[in-house]
Symmetry: D2
């Protein structure tokens, strides 16, 4: 994995990691026109320009404003536009109107970024530990938005009948041979009393902790994620037409939205819309853009089940979280065959996103960021091809509502051993 | 508890338990007019007549039709009306149109019930074990609908500005003294590797199994549920106006519906609409008709948390599940002070309703009944004042969406020990 | 028409007409069970019991309360329930919750009616002219609700898959022969400067006035309304699949609701659901339960157009408004072949419901009743089989939104001469 | 008015008028960024780029494709994107997704425009009369979109909390003195049998014809439109809180949307958001951005009424339709004091948008354009400050739903003489 080390190594100095993170966000927005950067295809997806601005607002507010004396806001009108959901930080633009912010322009937002970056680098050597922790949090926060920026751009471009490509496709992107679906190998995890959750060593979001004990019965995890070829079998076998395979609310969802394939697929043509435009399905590559409902139904169809968060985490703890197909630079973002428990696609688990035993939220506005639990969301583990390398961990808890599909979300099967 | 034994003792012969169960449903509908019995205040609540008919449809379909040769349907048009959600049993009336069934009349439905009851009692001695199991399932199923019938009637009457009373209020129903909120006592549960889930000894719904091990850290449960007096303090302290007390989706719900008190409350007048009409709040009685969101916010405000399903179940396993304030006859259905882990109100837990480790659904149409998991619902444990005595168990898993309030749902706090 | 004279003759003494009107409403509700009378199939349809009560509220409020000294309200809680839309009369139950009023019972409402009727008859001889005018208005108002009661019951029963019958069908109700569609005869109306609108001689709603001049070019009206046989041709010719036949919003409506035939029709089986249950289509009878959109599209398909209000009124002024197939008693309410410009079905016109030139609303709360214009509604002229005989006039202005179909609404074609 | 003559004179050669019209659209889009031009604030408003493209599609399809042999579509994917509602021209992008077309870019659309313009100018000398009529229609069509482009940009910018300005404000834009509201003068129109509608002399949309007779009673029209000062009095007098002033559906609209002032107003601050950003209200200038509901309520409050279409048209026929404050170039678009029956604001009439007596739609796809009547829309007469000078006529029929406010819509009062 050392080819990735120079880029986002956790050991690199904070200033360098900050600079690299900020630069990567800009690079991700590079292929976008002014109009592309303003697209908001649905209420939960934000325009790329908003991501650029919101991450900057985070640093300006919680680091510069709160910890650098004499700092004056670059533009006092920006917080209303670019605050996301921090109740403590006052009123803000309705989420579904972010696509209306044609001004400030992309250039103006870039200028603001430059201004804030400069001030941050100047301030960094003098910052107290509490502020340095916020810089670290800001980096992690920005990495999350890097992934969202990519998936939101994908959703925005998918809404255009011209199906524009965000990036070039690559010669090596062939369809692959279709693997026999019975080639599945399984790996066993530890069972009995195990421990999961962040141990406080190194950065983690506070929902990842505390480290705690749990009980696992013997189990196995599939050695590879479910592939596009596997999914085509599920489709061909009538998976989307068999109510008994689905959760009750999943089946409602299938019927209400007339779902017949993963998001962005044309199952008939065996193509998918991707960041490189419409492409033939890569049979060996992990299926992506499926909902929890689909993941769960597929598992039932396959005679297996989804892993619990603890099952996934215990095995993932033995792997290099910075390995696999993750985001290093603004290009070639797509799942490909092979790889371990990190990279390619986030894997839906059978676990609801609830606080870990013993969890207590941090006080204060930034604490809102971490303590914002919701009912009705499911945990995803691992990392995807759009996750900035170095961002994820075994204890990392990604979460989305069960019907969400616009992330790089896939499936890894589990079984009782 | 032996005064309850004659009524619903699990040891009583099946024929007797069947007869008593069927009779109780009729008795519950007794105070209702033809129009009362047709009320459907919202899509998830069913008219009382529908409950009377649907439970009959269950026995007619799965016992008489499937296991009594020569049985002919009483009326071939009824299944379309009174099937609920069994996909395998064909098309059915849209759920939100159940209030449109002014015909068949209540008398006709009662006649149908009589016919089916007669045929069931005649058939009972000859039925094979599989069919007897379905009779047992039908009894349990009807008990669930008895509770729903009461809560749906309450919701229907609440929609009438005249606020009619379903039953008389009782002299003993005084307001009680307001207990100091710091009088709370705590009980400790077992920790370490524990076992929960149904062990297959006696009836259980299959979602209750299998019995399995889990890990618990030391914890305590409040010795009594949260009372109306406690809740008035929460209201007075601005609980409904403090975003940081709430889950993110809970806060959205509060604002969207302008929630300021439990369902049916007038907080200003300290009254609540009940099955006995509008009544002064009983300060000592457990608060009822709160959502998971409210339960969770209250717990945070109180410096405590909701128990997990396992925590509640481990302690409940040591109590008589047929004890406490549960439903014995069609009268005086309301929470009152005192009582253990069963009766009064169902308690929201911090656990999502997901299948237990090792769960596999039963095959066939009736299996649908049990295997119908949904994402986004939370588990409630215990039993309420509207739960037919004998119906619940430590392993029982009631579940509702986090915003549901029309059941007798309350709160019992938990803490790390 | 003299067989109708005894029933609702405008010349009969007011006391007698009041008594007969009140009695007819009761008779119309006679076939309904307590639950039938509580059905509210959609927000714009009211339960029959509500009609019984609301018309009583009208007399109690505007006659007894306002003009009989010492009268005390029968029940002070009733106005909140049974006021309809009189802003001046205070708060009221939300329109779509009228189906929740299972109490007061039908018997209680009948008792209230009896009480009010008794007091009205006692008061009548002493009432001042202004109050007598309100009694007259109350009679006319109740007649409108008689028609609505029937069409709302029809809509309520149609929502029940059992399709109950409100009344018996009759031996004479045969299907008739299919008339050739080219048998159409036309009648010519006066043109040039004509006069329409109520002239203040006899009762009229104030939206019918003032009488005013208008200009008509030469035109003809079809001698008979469009029949079911005609409509079957329209269906067979793809009328519901041809966008160019439809108004722009009409075509949106067709697609959004997947409309393929008049309301209550099964076009394949050539049957319609009626107050006598499902019946074969009577080919010669006028088509009923079509929207303005359908009426307009049919006219375009037929190479004709809808008449304007003025065109219809000028010809209708020459006919006996109390003639034709209108409501005399609670039985046999259905369109049948033959008949003139009154009776069978209300005919959609090409005219929007706007105030006549020179119109000024009456002051005061009852004035609200008449001055309640709305944009976006179309005028219907004539009278239907459910209109109490004697209620309509040439100047009568019925009006509904263009998509409404639950009234007895049909089509009479017009052409430039 | 001769300073306007060079710009859009109807007498100018077609080629010149085409070129000027096409150039004006480009000029109107000039101040917009790539992102501004992609804004779609609500489903009925289209992005400016879409207007640029759609008007080009019209010429390419109906002139070049249909009448210039050998013409090949510039890009075969564009019709799906830029067709609006022509059923005959095939499938098209959902109306509310026009904001998703970030590609093609503004530059690409401009290139397409250039290409089509060039080909049109080359083809013009050889085109047959039918095609020349389509060029004329295309010019008129593009003028309609010029006005929409401006009002849609205004709506888009209003959705941005930064309230950007599309154009500069001008020194002369002072607030004016508040005119006494009793200064109103009235002008009398002809009455008796009058004629309205297009007579076929010069261009008109076919809904404007045929010319036909109608009857008018004596009436007067206000000599000036209702001003902002007048409207402030209406607000101060509780106009928005008085149900009896409003149509029934108008009052529903007021309450549902909590309407308290014209769109874009801050009544407290006496400012309005305009194309020049937020500006103080000009007291003497006509009120703009009011709905039909507001116009109607204001008229009732003022003891007057809205004019009918015929009343307005008869008087307007005596004025120069190319006069007044209309659009000449891409600047200073705002209502100002003074002016006649054309310019400043479109005036709501009391007339529904229905076809004129004797109307028959033109056959064929382009005919769709004119024959697209809808129920539920009201006619507006005159012209606004955003109407390209030369576009309107006395017989012109603008129309919008009664709640629409984003156009420059105002009020001119009428009275019976």
């Amino acid at each position: 994995m050392n080819q990735h080390a120079p880029i986002l190594a956790a050991q690199a100095p904070l200033a360098e990691r900050l600079a690299r993170t900020r630069a990567l966000t800009l690079a991700l927005a590079e292929p976008l026109s002014e109009a592309d950067a303003c697209l908001q295809p649905f209420a939960d997806a934000s325009p790329a320009k908003w991501h650029l601005a919101h991450t900057t607002w985070f640093f300006e507010t919680f680091v510069l404003r709160d910890h650098v004396s004499g700092y004056r806001a670059y533009d006092e009108r920006f917080p209303f536009l670019f605050n996301s959901y921090y109740e403590g930080e006052g009123a803000r633009l309705a989420r579904d109107r972010r696509g209306m912010i044609s001004r400030p322009s992309l250039a103006e937002v870039r200028e603001w970024r430059g201004h804030v970056d400069e001030r941050l680098q100047i301030a960094l050597p003098q910052l107290p530990p509490a502020a340095l922790a916020l810089v670290e949090l800001g980096i992690q926060h920005e990495q999350q938005h890097q992934e969202l920026l990519l998936t939101d751009v994908l959703a925005g471009f998918a809404a255009n009948p011209l199906e524009p490509a965000y990036m070039a496709s690559h010669a090596g992107d062939r369809m692959g041979s279709s693997p026999a679906s019975d080639d599945q190998k399984w790996i066993e995890g530890r069972h009995g009393v195990i421990e999961i959750g962040a141990d406080g060593d190194g950065f983690s979001f506070d929902c990842e902790g505390p480290r705690h004990r749990a009980w696992l019965e013997p189990y196995r995890l599939a050695a590879r994620p479910v592939s596009n070829a596997d999914w085509l079998e599920f489709v061909a076998d009538g998976g989307y037409r068999s109510p008994t395979l689905w959760l009750s609310d999943g089946w409602d969802w299938v019927r209400r939205h007339d779902v017949t394939a993963p998001l962005y697929w044309s199952a008939e043509e065996q193509t998918a819309f991707t960041l490189a435009g419409r492409q033939p399905l890569h049979f060996d590559a992990p299926v992506a853009h499926v909902s929890y409902y689909e993941a769960d139904a597929f598992a039932r169809w396959a005679g297996a089940r989804l892993p619990t968060e603890a099952e996934y985490e215990v095995l993932a703890a033995g792997e290099d979280a910075a390995g696999g197909n993750q985001l290093d630079r603004a290009e070639a973002v797509r799942p490909h065959a092979g790889g371990g428990l990190f990279g390619n696609v986030w894997c839906w688990t059978a676990s609801a996103f609830l606080s870990h035993p013993g969890f207590t939220p941090v006080e204060g506005t930034v604490g809102e960021y971490n303590g914002k639990f919701m009912s009705g969301q499911m945990v995803l583990k691992g990392a995807s091809c759009a996750t900035p390398r170095g961002h994820s961990r075994a204890s990392y808890r990604n979460f989305f509502p069960p019907a969400a599909r616009w992330q790089f979300t896939g499936v890894r099967l589990a079984r009782d051993a």
